[in-house]
Structure formats: structure tokens, C-alpha cells
């Protein structure tokens, strides 16, 4: 049963990659779509990793862009200052970015042990702002002008491999006893402690692991774009990732993937709306939240869907 599932997932992963390969290498896909592949994959990594904290651990953080930025800067600083062959440099950069972000994940995990809900949210938001503020005034990483001259060695294959690694690691963690502990803490801290779940350890672990992958995503972002600017990693970026997680469903990895794809591609497809684009995005956000969380509307939606299904049958 389980093996069968694994085989299906592996097959999907391979087919999707082959599809990407075919679309890109034959030039069938438009430039716009080719160009969107890496950002989509970056956002998937970000959303899935944030889901570990928000969806599985049940803590609200608004500082994911902060983890992303420290990882991005650390990894990209390495590639800028070292001139190693790309096949050595790139993996090392990802590890450096991930580990640096993980250290920050550990640091921000400490208040998470003491604070809950909105208080933790504001602390993580503050953390993101502190990082940005410091990066802005650090001339060694380019200050507000940003880190320039990063070799653009990230491509869709690298990004795809990283995304698959992220998915495997996070979903394997979730479906192990460690993941159960994390979910137990989310559902009821006191009960979790009463059956011996080490709350401190697992909270820390979730923050560290999530930050690690955010850092990796950051390096990938920088390697793909060639420039990093502190202003990119502001509070709105964290919100953007959070929206993906909430929209895709908390604690639902597949949902995060789908939401990341939609929310990255949709604004690009809406370019024709020009000035009305942000307005449309805002409305879409509100309507989607209403449709996914309001009892009456949820019922209404289900009725429509079940009817259309019957008609199809």
C-alpha cells in the first residue's frame, strides 16, 4: 500500500520533470513560462517549509522572508567570493545558505518556546525587519543596493532537484514519529508533554528545519536572479508565503504546492489587467478565504461541486 504510493509519487516527479524538460528544451513553452519555472519552485520550497511551522507545528510566523534572506546572502556571498567550479560551488552554497538560515531558525525558535499566537507573530515579524535593517547597512553585502554580480548558475534542473529533496525530507519527517510529535504539540501541548513528547526539542527542530529550507530557497532565488536586494525580503514577502500556506491548507503539503504554483503564475497571467492587477489579487484573496472558511459558503461550494459531478456522471 505504502510502496504503491511511493511509486506513484516517484512517477509523478519524473513525468513532471520530463514535461518541463520537453517544454523548455524544445522551446514550446513561452519565455514567460520558462522564466517562471524557477520562481515557482522557489516558492514551493518556501511554502512547504513554512507549512512545517504554521501547519504542522501550529505556530504563526511572519518572518519566513528573514530566513530566506540570511540564507540567500550567506550562500550567494560564498559564490561571489569563491571561484570554484560550479558543480562544487553550487552545492556548497546551498548547504551554507541552509545552515546559516538554520542557525537563525534556532535563534528565533527561542522566543517561540515562550510566546504564543499573535505575540510570536509580531516577534517573528520584528526579526525579519531586524535582518533587513542590518543587511541594509552592511556594506560588505552591498547594503541597500544589494549584492550584485552573483553568477546566475541556478537553473530549473537544480531547482527541481532541490524542490524534490525538500518535499521528500519534509514529508518523511511529517510521516515519522518526529512529525507525530510536532503535530501533537500543535493539537495539544499539555497532552503532548503528558505522554513524554519533548516540546522544546521538537519546536526547535521544526524552526531549524523550516529555516534551513527557506535558506536553500533563498540561495536558489539569488542564483537565479543574479542580484539580492534587502528590500525584497520585507514583511510582504513573508505574507506572500504565508498566504500560499493558508490557501493551500494548513498541514497539507500538496495544497501548499498547488497554492504556490497558482499564486506565482496567476499574477503573471493577469498582466493584461495592468493597473487592476493588485486590486484583483486582493479581491481574489478575500474571496478565496471566504469560500474556504465561511461555513455557509463552504456548503454552497460543496453543493455546486457535487451537482456538477453528478451531471458529469
Amino acid at each position: 500500500m505504502k510502496n504503491k504510493k511511493n511509486i506513484i509519487y516517484t512517477a509523478i516527479a519524473i513525468v513532471v520533470y520530463l514535461l518541463l524538460f520537453a517544454l523548455v528544451e524544445t522551446g514550446t513553452a513561452s519565455r514567460q513560462m520558462q522564466n517562471l519555472i524557477v520562481p515557482v519552485l522557489v516558492n514551493i520550497i518556501l511554502a512547504v517549509s513554512l507549512n512545517l511551522i504554521v501547519g504542522f507545528l501550529g505556530e504563526l510566523t511572519l518572518g519566513h522572508a528573514g530566513f530566506m534572506s540570511v540564507g540567500a546572502y550567506a550562500g550567494c556571498m560564498f559564490t561571489v567570493s569563491c571561484n570554484l567550479p560550479v558543480y562544487i560551488e553550487l552545492p556548497v552554497a546551498f548547504v551554507i545558505g541552509g545552515l546559516t538560515a538554520a542557525v537563525f531558525g534556532f535563534i528565533i525558535g527561542i522566543p517561540a518556546l515562550r510566546l504564543k499566537g499573535d505575540y510570536l507573530a509580531i516577534v517573528t515579524l520584528g526579526f525579519g525587519e531586524i535582518i533587513r535593517s542590518i543587511l541594509n547597512s552592511m556594506d560588505i553585502v552591498g547594503g541597500s543596493g544589494g549584492l550584485k554580480g552573483i553568477e546566475k548558475s541556478g537553473n530549473y534542473t537544480v531547482a527541481y532537484v532541490l524542490m524534490i529533496i525538500t518535499l521528500i525530507v519534509i514529508s518523511n519527517v511529517i510521516h515519522s514519529c518526529h512529525g507525530r510529535s510536532i503535530k501533537a504539540i500543535r493539537d495539544n501541548v499539555i497532552a503532548a508533554e503528558s505522554v513524554g513528547v519533548n516540546v522544546v526539542y521538537y519546536k526547535m527542530f521544526a524552526f531549524v528545519l523550516s529555516a534551513f529550507f527557506a535558506g536553500v530557497a533563498g540561495v536558489l532565488y539569488g542564483q537565479n536572479l543574479g542580484i539580492l536586494k534587502p528590500a525584497t525580503f520585507d514583511f510582504n514577502k513573508s505574507i506572500e508565503i504565508l498566504v500560499m500556506v493558508v490557501l493551500g491548507g494548513m498541514g497539507n503539503i500538496k495544497g501548499s504546492i498547488i497554492a504556490a504554483v497558482i499564486l506565482t503564475v496567476l499574477p503573471e497571467l493577469l498582466r493584461d489587467l495592468a493597473d487592476y492587477r493588485m486590486l484583483f489579487y486582493a479581491l481574489a484573496l478575500i474571496i478565496m478565504m471566504l469560500f474556504s472558511s465561511n461555513p455557509t459558503l463552504v456548503e454552497f461550494r460543496q453543493r455546486i461541486f457535487s451537482r456538477s459531478k453528478r451531471e458529469v456522471n
Binding site: 521528500i168 514519529c177 518526529h178 503535530k183 497532552a191
Partner: protein, 252 residues
């Protein structure tokens, strides 16, 4: 040596003396009842014993070891498990995962085993599943193993909580009003189950309960609490006829 030895345990919240001078000894395998009117401090005692609250005075020895100052996790590892008055399940996890969370301390594997799916992961998970199913069977929950815990009816949720507590393999089980909200049939069934697990798991039980028939029926000894103080301690027959207890429950 007694399994549980509580000496002059007490706690104050601000100026309120919630529990005062509480003494209790329990032997291996004993089933003790803890009763008293609402607000007498019964659940507070559970919280003191499991490390949720730190006692302001007194000592609590368990299996010869001082438990004061230990965290709930450490206390659980020493062999004390509990259920809660207001059910605290992992409501968004499946029934079997609730029990497996309790089993994890015994069937442990490292993070790396889990991420890389090394052989140890498969072996441990299989053993955990088998053991969890055994436990669920005892409580007649094996049919609902894959359901979400929050979808279970009330009575079954209470049972699941006991199963989860038992999964940690405790020497002492603290049950906080396990029969609350059950109908007489379910209560009777629960009495049987409690007796059964006591036999099968060789576990001592401290039981808080309002249902007098349940307490009187299965407890070997009963301690009665009023305003945080013990007013009676003895076998059910003694308690039944103790004038102080009657006054406490029925008024003068």
C-alpha cells in the same frame, strides 16, 4: 516500599490555598479513588503529581525517587501517565497516531532513520502499529483506527485518552473523571475496562470520579478532599459512613 508516597503536599495560587497538607501512600497495583465536591482541588493534585504545577511545599516520592521540580516529560518517563478532565486528544490526528505518539518513547528511531527511511524506521513503525492496534482493541477502538480523533463520539474519546496514556507504559495511571458524560451502560463497561487494564498492565490507578457507584464499586481505597484538605481516607465502606463526608456532600 510504597509506589507513591506524598508528604504534606501543598500549593497556593496567590492567596488561595488550593491544596494543603495532602498525604497519600499507594502500593503497587492499588486502585485508589480521589473524590470531593467541585473545586475541592482534585485536579490540582493531578497537576501537582504530573509536574504541570510546582508544589509550594511538601514532597512527592515515586518509586522511591523525589519528583518535586521535575517536568511533565520527565515525570512521564518515570512512569506516570494521566488523562484530563476536559479531554485533551490530538484531535487533528488519527486515532492510531494518538496512541503511537504515546508509544514513541519506547520505539524510538533517530531523525535520520525517519528522513532517509532506513530499515530501522520500517521495523519500529511496524512494531508501533502492532502494539497500538493491541491497545485499541482493548478499548474496542480498533475499528476506528484511521479516523480523526475529533470525529469519535465523546465516550470513545475518553477511552482513547486512556489508551494513549497506557501507551507510555506507566506504573501509575491518573484518571480524571473518566466516566464524565457517559450513560450508565457505558459507565459499567468502563468499570470493566479499568479493572481489566489494571490486571493486564499491572498498573496502579488513582481515579478522580463523581460517579459514586463507579468509585465505590471498583476502588480499594478512597481519599476525600474538601477545600484542598483531606477529610477522610479509607476503604469504601468507611467512607460511605463517614459523617464528615456525608456533610461535605449533602450539607448539614
Amino acid at each position: 516500599m510504597a509506589l507513591v508516597d506524598i508528604r504534606q503536599l501543598g500549593i497556593s495560587f496567590g492567596g488561595l490555598r488550593a491544596v494543603d497538607n495532602f498525604n497519600l501512600t499507594m502500593d503497587d497495583g492499588q486502585l485508589y479513588g480521589l473524590i470531593g465536591p467541585n473545586g475541592a482541588g482534585k485536579t490540582t493534585i493531578f497537576n501537582l503529581l504530573t509536574g504541570v504545577y510546582k508544589p509550594t511545599d511538601g514532597e512527592f516520592y515515586f518509586d522511591g525517587e523525589l519528583m518535586n521540580g521535575k517536568t511533565p516529560i520527565q515525570i512521564n518517563k518515570k512512569g506516570i501517565a494521566r488523562t484530563f478532565q476536559n479531554i485533551r486528544l490530538f484531535s487533528n490526528m488519527s486515532v492510531i497516531d494518538n496512541v503511537k505518539t504515546g508509544l514513541q518513547a519506547k520505539y524510538h528511531y533517530s531523525m535520520l532513520d525517519g528522513i532517509l527511511r532506513l530499515p530501522k524506521f520500517g521495523r519500529m513503525e511496524r512494531e508501533m502499529t502492532d502494539r497500538a492496534m493491541e491497545l485499541l482493541k482493548i478499548f474496542d477502538l480498533d475499528g476506528e483506527a484511521e479516523q480523526l480523533a475529533s470525529n469519535l463520539p465523546y465516550g470513545k474519546q475518553r477511552k482513547l485518552e486512556i489508551a494513549r496514556a497506557l501507551a507510555t507504559d506507566p506504573k501509575l495511571l491518573l484518571l480524571d473523571e473518566p466516566a464524565a458524560g457517559m450513560n450508565p451502560n457505558e459507565t459499567a463497561e468502563l468499570m470493566n475496562t479499568i479493572s481489566l487494564i489494571r490486571e493486564k498492565f499491572k498498573v496502579s490507578i488513582l481515579l478522580i470520579e463523581h460517579d459514586m457507584s463507579l468509585v465505590m464499586g471498583i476502588c480499594e481505597k478512597i481519599v476525600v478532599l474538601l477545600y484542598g484538605r483531606v477529610i477522610a481516607n479509607g476503604i469504601p465502606d468507611e467512607i460511605k459512613n463517614d459523617p464528615k463526608v456525608i456533610v461535605a456532600y449533602l450539607g448539614e
